[in-house]
Symmetry: D2
């Protein structure tokens, strides 16, 4: 059994790691940390997990976490993950960091996140978008992608690889669970219900990950919708002059690119958040605009699973030589 530690186990991402790892046949959760709930049973604070987990939240030194874990999932806010990662790695524990701290080069990180990167080393983390980076299998440090980049990049990667894309506009719509477990103005029911809230419309930091992976002109605007889970990304893709294709050609490109990618489901129509609810799937559909250079590609993920905890476990599976699907293979909770 793989011993897995979860650092930051009281937020939505950490809790989703717990929920999924509890169902994983090859994993035993060794430690779950939370300063706020130290000493309380995880299932007392989160009754949906009763009676699946006996553990209490702990607040222990990083070295102890390292000693008790074969792999550590770091699910604390960006800026904090870098306080744990060096020590974990120094003690030989493999790490999947779900924060933004290791997704970019340090210099880029500091410019974009507007804070100092406290890790002395420039670590060679693998960007854990599993379908595009099979080299996670050999990584000791995986930087798990942001929720928005996961859905956005997967939507257009096949077209970009063809070299026919001139420009992409990603317009994303996320459930509010991406905003975290703490009540806020934005998550206040009367503010979000019967509404849709655009935010950081030209400046969301996730765009840096998209540009890193895609190398085409990328624009990005996120919104919060009155839903709990899910991200639907509408990608407006503009092709260059050479790029005009038939639907069959495009379908061929997508099918070939995602041929053996078990968690990508290509759809005939547009995908739906309901179909991916609670799962690690990324559903993708596309449509060519007549007499135009535009293709609209739509992707749907569960932000907490494929956009977070699920993809982290998918990466762990590869890192430990397991079938990619272990612990993640279930139909969506529809309706």
């Amino acid at each position: 059994m793989i011993k897995a530690g979860i650092i930051g186990g009281a937020g939505y991402t950490g809790l989703e790691l717990v929920r999924l790892l509890l169902m994983h046949p090859e994993v035993k959760i060794s430690v779950v940390t939370s300063r706020r709930y130290k000493g309380k049973k995880v299932s007392d604070v989160n009754p949906h997990l009763f009676p699946f987990i006996e553990l209490e939240y702990e607040d222990v030194y990083t070295e102890e976490i390292a000693d008790r874990s074969d792999i550590a999932f770091v699910a604390v806010p960006h800026g904090s993950a870098m306080e744990y990662v060096p020590e974990l790695m120094a003690r030989g524990t493999r790490v999947i960091d779900l924060s933004a701290d290791y997704r970019l080069k340090k210099a880029d990180y500091e410019r974009i996140y507007k804070r100092e990167h406290k890790d002395r080393e420039e670590r060679d983390a693998v960007y854990g978008l599993t379908e595009l980076h099979p080299e996670v299998a050999d990584a000791d440090l995986v930087a798990n992608p942001g929720c928005y980049p996961t859905g956005a990049i997967l939507a257009v990667a096949p077209l970009v690889k063809e070299g026919i894309v001139k420009q992409v506009v990603f317009d994303s719509k996320s459930g509010i669970s991406g905003g975290g477990v703490e009540p806020s103005e934005r998550s206040h029911f009367p503010n979000l219900a019967e509404n849709i809230i655009p935010y950081e419309v030209t400046s969301h930091r996730h765009v840096a990950e998209m540009r890193n992976e895609l190398h085409v002109k990328v624009s990005f605007t996120p919104h919060v919708i009155p839903s709990i889970r899910g991200i639907l990304t509408t990608a407006h893709v503009f092709l260059d002059d050479s790029g005009l294709k038939t639907h069959a050609e495009l379908e061929g490109i997508y099918k070939q690119f995602y041929d053996d990618k078990i968690f990508i489901r290509l759809k005939r129509g547009t995908p739906s958040l309901s179909s991916v609810r609670g799962t690690n799937f990324c559903d993708i559909g596309f449509e060519i605009e007549e007499k135009s250079d535009r293709i609209v590609v739509v992707s749907a993920i569960d932000n907490l699973v494929k956009g977070g905890a699920g993809q982290a476990i998918q990466n762990m599976n590869l890192m430990f030589g397991l079938d990619e699907r272990e612990g993640l293979w279930s139909p969506g909770l529809a309706p």
Copy 2:
């Protein structure tokens, strides 16, 4: 492997049976019927099930279903189930009927459902409220309870058994998935959102099941809330003069009654639909009103799981000598 047939596999209850049975390690789905979708792949009509099921919907004679199944789940509307059950039983297939057709004596059924009961026999179906009827283990025909009675009866059964209850008012609030897969006035988003809809406020037929099981004065009013899944039942329990108890005494009564009932979770506070989402749990909490003869008991279930498909599978597990939890043992999908 148990071969399971599902009659009526395109409604929400039938689909939930498919979703859950696909995860069941001891079951193989042998046939799924639907007249409307005959010949279509189940996962084409219901993309959340792709690629978990290869089967197509079929429309075959009951005898063929019987021949291909060790157990048949009947998930058609009440009034239709009685067209399948006699033939299935005649051919030795065990049956779990999720409709109302076998929950009551025929005479009661005809009076309450205002239609003729076409089965010539008065069959001795076991009422499949698993925690109260362990004799389902030996049954050949299980009448799976209604969604409302499941949550309502479980909430107050321990108190009723004590003989201290004078009267109960059940005020239930259900997600709209209980109303089925077909669009209707009530399920039309602009009618349900920002609203709560009471219906059949004095005449809902499920009250007959409650009275059958509880033998005290029972009143019942259901409502639909703007949620997809879940039933929260608020039971206003009035005790007779002998009945006044401390909280500790009540807790003792509930703990003893549900001692080995793995799917009942007793809560300190009030339960939440989030904690039971997608699961077979029934969460129960209660509070004594000061200087009063009233106790408020609140139960929460997922109407499609414990209130339908899940409880049916729980019954099947007992009927086939399996652990009650097989295929049903997972944490709630919170948030």
Copy 3:
């Protein structure tokens, strides 16, 4: 023009007073207070009010508010209203208090709200449930009812007056705006969406107002539903032996009781929150249970209007000799 001051104009009740008074042909808002937003334009903080109000939030002495206002609406939390009311009245300003501070006798208040009542006097406030207390017209101090009591009491008052009611169980479902403008655990979207939250199930303090007005055995349990506005109250009314009536008789009782009450609308079926959205109406429907002593009466109000600001203005209209409907006479915002 009546000069109206609003003390506590940044909460939902205060803002609804602003919204409604801006449309009132006989009123001019003279002052709106808020410590938090002092100096900011009301319409900058609340963009839905732009460009209807030019005023800035102020933080001024009570005596100045009194001097600038013919009537003061006190929309601060209970416990704080009593700090304003004595001074306002001493200076001859008429007062409508929307908090709980003057709804009960001081002794009852202190017992139920578990805090000292700081007003030295026992003031003879009129309980402002307009339809039952026309004497508000002559009042200098009106204690505006709680949101729950408004819908609950109106639902059953005609039956209680007949002397045929033995017991009532009020099971109420409220939109979350009743919880106020501040984000909280309960108002956090992932906690409330796809859920319904019972709270203070045996101990909500509003029951005291109901008992004061009704003088029969009353039980009360409130819930929050995933909606912004509205309270639907399901009243389970149990009649004494003499009480059994036909539907026509009951309809006669309600029609007579509410004959000239323009804001009460009697319904054939069950009422809907959509129909009263944004309005001062209370819609009431009822149904007799066959072979039973139970009548189910359902009422629907907008908690911020008839359950708060609207009823306050209705009272003000009577106090100043205006038509009850002034500023309040508009159809519901359906859908």
Copy 4:
């Protein structure tokens, strides 16, 4: 008093016309038609309108409607409006058509809507986007704009007029009331809740109106969100090389363009559907992307008011020499 007839008064647009015209001081509704509800009182079918309207639905000849009306609002589906308009105009009744039938040249209409245009004449309807077409004042036939084009065109018209726009991508999110009063797959609560549904992602016919008005490269994709009312449009505007501007310059452009347009509210941040709920306002905010040629402009309208019935009444006001605000001047219903 202006006598106003409403043809098609049982759909959401027709009902919103009724709701708003009932509050209009200069208008008397003379006739409301509906085949389905002929003979029923409007307020029986739509209880939110009780007791504001005494009329019954009628099903009468167009000529009678014309005789009884100074102005006729045609609120039937596209394809049907053209059956009424010629006769109405022939009899001298001014017409505001809320369908798509007169928004485009007949040839364009037939190509885009894929049906024959039965009106023998090419009528010179004025496109009723009030802020851009003051000539509605003199029109006898106004083609009221589609809901999506209203929010989209208003968002970018000032920039387009400057001649600096190269390309616009409109990504719109609409409440489901735009889909009409009839239950459908899309409006079925379990399908829409916890979801967002893109549809006609490259082929929605409203794009023709946008291109007619804007004369730049326009792409458009609509979505339905789990809300009743409102359209939020995110306009991704790409400027040509000459076009880069400071925020102050852009603000100047918008302020000047919309200087005297009372229903346009320019916002500092991003607009919200809550602020425009139930109103005729269009709220607009924008943000320049650093080091980029992109500006994101966001507009918010109530699809049934500014996107339908409200704008029609705004046009009527101008046609009859009234203040534009008559019957429409109220704050948004927030929260």
